[in-house]
């Protein structure tokens, strides 16, 4: 049929199928701003359009239903590449992070302002109610609407999006436009899905319906004979090698235990077969035609089941060690049927008993410490499985170009993708190019090579362009989740509150494969224990294989669960001692000049080093929170059903992996005096490219517009470890600093020769002018001379950053929660985050990182949990039943304040900012709930049902 629309003021008549949705039609016709985060469930709002002046989700409207209608997409507001009043306001308020939801937000606000030119907060919340955003925490959207609204009458209106820092610097510590914001706010091509060639084929997966089973036989003949089918892949025709999907430095501290397709499936959703066909529907149909006979095995569905005597064995193949010896008493001989498990070095594992990795260590004499204590408490905390839920799911476009494999990837780790894919396929790295596109949310899930190995192999073997995108259910069950952890904390203290001993026992569920199986649980310890000064501390960590969804990296990398356990236990100890919670924290917390001995036992795969801390901002943070919350005098609700409580915690993170990782950048001075910065860093929406651009502009006396950043392209940019472990600003940012300083040295040397003045007399002044005592020369002139072969060589700087220095950001989070003691409902009345990220390089963007991190953690604490049935099938693998926060779940008073303590190694004194933000919500909310209603919440999420059970109101 033909559908007639007025699209962005232009009449169009387009053919469509009866069942084609408006979203599908618009995308097919090249309207790329219409995104998709929920596969047509109507739950995410990213496909929003304004249809006949109303904001609607185009995924649940048939194109035919729109006949004769007016349709407005964000392209309407991006004419001539200018920005509308709303687009500009979103950039000014630092609301553009990954940008995947941004076009929908633009439309929602335009539609709102069309109805109400000075909207209230209630109206703003209502207008944005249908748009899911996982990055921003929504808080800054209110400012964006206010700015846009004010500019309706006063076009010159402006307001500061954040406080400024470092008055001695021109760009650093000041708000500047995020350098990819314009592209994203205009809804232009930026993501993997926008790079797919018209003749690309589609790859679809046949997923396992069983949690644990052997594939007895698999018959692909019928599928291969179906229309449009090009190839079918199974364990019978894929490379016979195992690898890890963890995007970590090599050799990885994760077992190589995953084959592209295995003859054994280990979780519901595991790979059974993949079909490449000319259309997505053909590939889906052919998947259904693959005949599989399974030998179903009893699954392992919990940590308790995994460690039980006689438990089913998730990995029964041979266990090999590339270096080192197997732990004594562990079995290594395989059953001759399953794939091998290969450890690069020992992780104290015993896979045939489902133990993927373990570690234990500590300082002092814990038993003596407990014996000396006046009070000893022991509590167990459980954090359930949560999903990263990037709104752009895992996606890749793979093709062969010039005899090489090219991967357009949505990844946090382009170089690890290159290495792992090349080894999985069996081709050298010089035959693989990875181009990191804009990433529509990563949050750790895209630190793993979840789709690139298979798509790369299929493209390499067939020569066809291969588009492979997880649907939302696959994203839930087959990408990466936060490990389930059960953490027992034992604390001993004197009557005055001084800790005498700490013991943490942590059991984790890594799922069917061991990516990050040791490092994530270890981080739960290494980012919580060092917050407390105690001479006697010990930990035991064990990570078990199960047949549930794969676990992996997720923002915070284990730290949120460790923080939940230890900080809540500390509060429980305070209650036991009859002490104020903050007083107990104050007595034991890390402070300026403290020697952190526990770090000796917390090395990342090597001997750790005790550190003497420089300045620590925790004291000021606690003081600010104490004052803002009038600590000790909580409000009383007018409604007897609602009880109000306060909670506070201290938190920390790291800034990259000292001694393990490295980052590089190259910077080229172009002939007109502008810069091309080639950064290895992988900006996944956080603003890392803006950090590196600022470094270059700051050091070379230029404006931000003078710097173009190309990042994360393995052919073009130099190596970078990737975006994980809170390393972006610290490592990639510092590499850019070093590259700019290298170029500056060369520029000054060249200018000295041109001007005939000593280098010591020269400096670079805005805008790109080298000034001496007698003369001056522009960067453009110097660059032009280099291209003409005059005086000096090409002006290019190179920077490498690696360090053994550990930089810790700290934070204190305060919560005021109201608990309805009849219903168990919880309202977050106030959430204050006081955080130190050193110098905030982009203050408003850093605020956004914190708001977003906190709100994710609020979701984990109150709503989110993957739920499995008795057969290991996740029963809520969709946004309809896995609830992530919307704008309605934002705390009523949501405040972030910086308490900067500059780091001597960090770029301009900067440290990491994002991941730490997730470490406070769970314990702070749990403590506030207890303060309100007397119930200790030891399992997250703290659903009303769990709260009522903890209160004894529900059995």
């Amino acid at each position: 049929m033909t559908v007639n629309l007025e699209l962005n003021g232009r009449r169009v008549a387009w053919d469509c199928a009866d069942g084609e949705t408006l979203k599908e039609l618009l995308r097919r016709k090249g309207v790329v701003s219409v995104r998709d985060g929920c596969d047509g469930e109507g739950a995410c709002g990213l496909c929003a359009v304004i249809l006949d002046r109303k904001l609607v989700n185009s995924c649940i409207i048939l194109a035919a239903q729109a006949e004769g209608s007016s349709v407005v997409t964000v392209e309407h507001f991006s004419k001539d590449r200018k920005l509308s009043i709303v687009q500009r306001a979103l950039v000014d308020a630092a609301c553009v992070q990954c940008g995947y939801c941004t076009p929908a937000v633009v439309l929602a606000i335009h539609e709102l302002l069309g109805r109400s030119n000075a909207p209230s907060d209630v109206e703003i919340r209502d207008a944005l109610s249908g748009t899911l955003c996982r990055c921003t925490g929504y808080e800054q959207f209110y400012a964006a609407v206010r700015i846009a609204s004010m500019r309706l009458t006063d076009p010159a209106y402006s307001e500061a999006a954040a406080p400024e820092f470092r008055p001695d610097l021109r760009h650093v510590g000041k708000d500047r436009d995020k350098i990819d914001a314009f592209t994203l706010v205009r809804g232009e091509k930026a993501f993997v899905e926008d790079r797919v060639d018209a003749d690309a084929c589609h790859l679809k997966l046949l997923c396992s319906p069983h949690a644990h089973a052997w594939i007895r036989s698999i018959d692909t003949k019928a599928a291969l004979a179906m229309p449009g089918v090009i190839a079918v892949f199974t364990h019978e025709n894929c490379p016979d090698k195992v690898y890890t999907t963890a995007g970590q430095g090599f050799p990885e501290p994760s077992p190589h235990d995953q084959r592209m397709f295995s003859r054994k499936v280990r979780h519901v959703g595991d790979r059974v077969a993949a079909v490449l066909a000319e259309t997505a529907r053909q590939a889906e149909a052919a998947c259904k035609a693959v005949r599989v006979e399974y030998e179903v095995l009893k699954p392992v569905l919990s940590i308790a089941e995994a460690r039980a005597d006689g438990a089913p064995v998730v990995h029964s193949g041979e266990v090999r060690y590339v270096s080192g010896e197997p732990p004594e008493g562990t079995g290594v001989a395989g059953d001759g049927r399953d794939d091998p498990v290969v450890y690069q070095f020992p992780l104290h594992a015993d896979p045939h008993r489902n133990l993927a990795a373990s570690v234990s260590s500590g300082i002092g004499d814990v038993e003596r410490g407990f014996a000396e204590a006046d009070v000893v408490i022991e509590r167990t905390y459980r954090g359930n499985r949560v999903q990263c839920t990037p709104l752009e799911p895992h996606v890749v476009y793979a093709k062969v170009d010039g005899g090489r494999l090219v991967l357009h990837a949505s990844t946090q780790v382009p170089w690890h993708v290159r290495r792992i894919v090349s080894r999985a396929i069996g081709i050298p790295e010089n035959k693989v190019r990875v181009i990191k596109e804009r990433v529509g949310g990563g949050f750790g899930a895209k630190q793993d090579i979840v789709v690139e190995d298979m798509a790369g192999y299929v493209a390499w073997t067939t020569g066809r362009g291969v588009y492979f995108r997880y649907d939302r259910e696959q994203e839930f069950v087959s990408s990466r989740t936060r490990h389930v952890m059960e953490i027992t904390v034992r604390l001993g203290a004197k009557k005055d509150g001084r800790l005498t001993a700490i013991f943490m026992k942590l059991d984790a569920d890594t799922g069917p494969y061991g990516q990050h199986c040791l490092t994530v649980p270890m981080n739960a310890i290494s980012k919580s224990l060092p917050l407390l000064l105690c001479d006697n501390a010990r930990f035991e960590v064990k990570s078990y294989y199960t047949n549930l969804s794969p676990a992996g990296a997720y923002q915070g990398y284990g730290a949120p669960k460790g923080s939940f356990a230890l900080q809540t236990a500390l509060a429980e100890l305070a209650a036991e001692l009859g002490m104020d919670q903050l007083e107990l924290i104050e007595k034991n917390r890390v402070r300026s000049g403290a020697r952190i001995e526990i770090l000796k036992s917390l090395g990342e795969g090597r001997e750790g080093i005790a550190v003497t801390l420089g300045e620590c901002g925790l004291g000021e943070m606690l003081e600010r929170g104490r004052k803002a919350f009038a600590w000790g005098s909580k409000p009383v609700s007018d409604d007897p059903d609602w009880k109000i409580g306060h909670g506070a915690v201290i938190i920390q993170q790291g800034s990259g992996l000292p001694g393990l990782d490295a980052a590089n950048a190259e910077i080229r001075l172009l002939a007109d005096g502008t810069l091309l910065l080639l950064s290895g860093g992988a900006d996944l929406g956080t603003g890392l490219d803006t950090v590196t651009a600022k470094a270059a502009a700051e050091i070379l006396g230029l404006e931000m517009a003078d710097v173009t950043v190309i990042s994360g392209d393995t052919d073009v940019t130099p190596f970078d470890k990737g975006a994980y472990a809170s390393s972006g600003t610290y490592f990639s940012g510092n590499a850019a600093v070093k590259a700019a300083e290298d170029l500056k040295r060369k520029v000054l040397a060249a200018a000295a020769a041109v001007l005939g003045e000593p280098e010591a007399d020269l400096s670079i002044a805005p805008r790109g002018i080298v000034k001496g005592k007698m003369g001056e020369v522009t960067l453009a002139k110097l660059a032009h001379m280099s291209t003409q072969g005059e005086y000096h060589d090409d002006l290019t700087g190179f920077g490498t950053f690696k360090t053994d220095h550990a930089a810790f950001p700290y934070g204190a989070h305060f919560v005021e929660a109201a608990v309805n003691v009849r219903s168990g409902d919880v309202k977050l009345r106030r959430y204050h985050a006081y955080q130190d990220c050193g110098t905030p390089i982009n203050p408003a963007l850093a605020l956004g990182q914190i708001y977003g991190g906190v709100l994710k953690a609020v979701g984990h604490s109150l709503y989110e949990e993957m739920i499995y049935d008795a057969n290991g099938r996740c029963v809520n693998a969709r946004f309809l039943d896995y609830k992530i926060p919307t704008i309605f779940e934002v705390p009523e008073d949501f405040t972030v304040e910086f308490v900067p303590v500059e780091d001597e190694v960090g770029p301009f004194g900067g440290k990491s900012v994002s991941e730490i933000s997730l470490n406070g919500a769970a314990p702070a909310i749990a403590i506030a709930i207890h303060d309100a209603c007397g119930a200790w919440m030891r399992e997250w999420p703290f659903t009303p049902e769990r709260i009522l059970r903890a209160m004894g109101k529900l059995r």
Partner: protein, 264 residues
Amino acid sequence: MVTKFLKPRDAAEALSMLASVKGAVPLAGGTFLLSSQFRDEPMTVVSVAGILPSGVSRTGNTVEIGAGATFQDIIDSPDAPAVLRKACLGMADRNIRNRATAAGNAAAGKSCASLPPVFLTAEASFEFAGGNAPLPAESWLASPSGLITRIKLVFDPERLYGYERWSRTACDVSVLTAAASWRLSGGVVKDLRIACGGLSSHPRRFPELESLFEGKPLPKRSDIEAAVSPFLSPIDDVRGSAAFKRLRASILVADAIMNAEAQP
């Protein structure tokens, strides 16, 4: 998955199409029918948008809602009573409210649908295309059939009306809903109507609860909760255990009764 889209000129033709194509279903806003949960089911749809009335009006005590009125249309209408607007606002996602229709919400056949509990406590009746006799909402919800054109509700100025819902997050689907209407006469509760969603296969009135309080002085909230709880039989599912839902629904019923207000 929609395999055939039919666009009738009027309600009569829509009825004819629905009758002549086996399995054909009427399509209004589509927020339920077109969601991906039906992606694998071949479907013929008959588009009724634009051919059914969509206005909201009030004549005396009677509020008339066109079957094609969206949730947002109802919220925006000055003729919509507050309790009805509250029920519509329970669907917190504006994008959905801009498409989801009043009749579609009833016709989707969902146990936890937002609006039917209000319909049931406001003496709602459904009118149909093709001249079929109007039916009380309660009868129709128990055995749906026919193409709804209008919903008529009666809001007696002597009565008080309340509505409550529970969902996990604001934009979640309603997990449990409760509506109540009653009047106070001689110090006792009279003509109490209680309707709930999420507790049975479809939203329905609960006469067994109504009779607990009929003709008696208004009890305390906690007494209502305790009294109704044994009569509620929700199921365990991903949204909550039966025990929790029973407790939560008891609270909703108590609040719907106690928070009820006149609808001027």
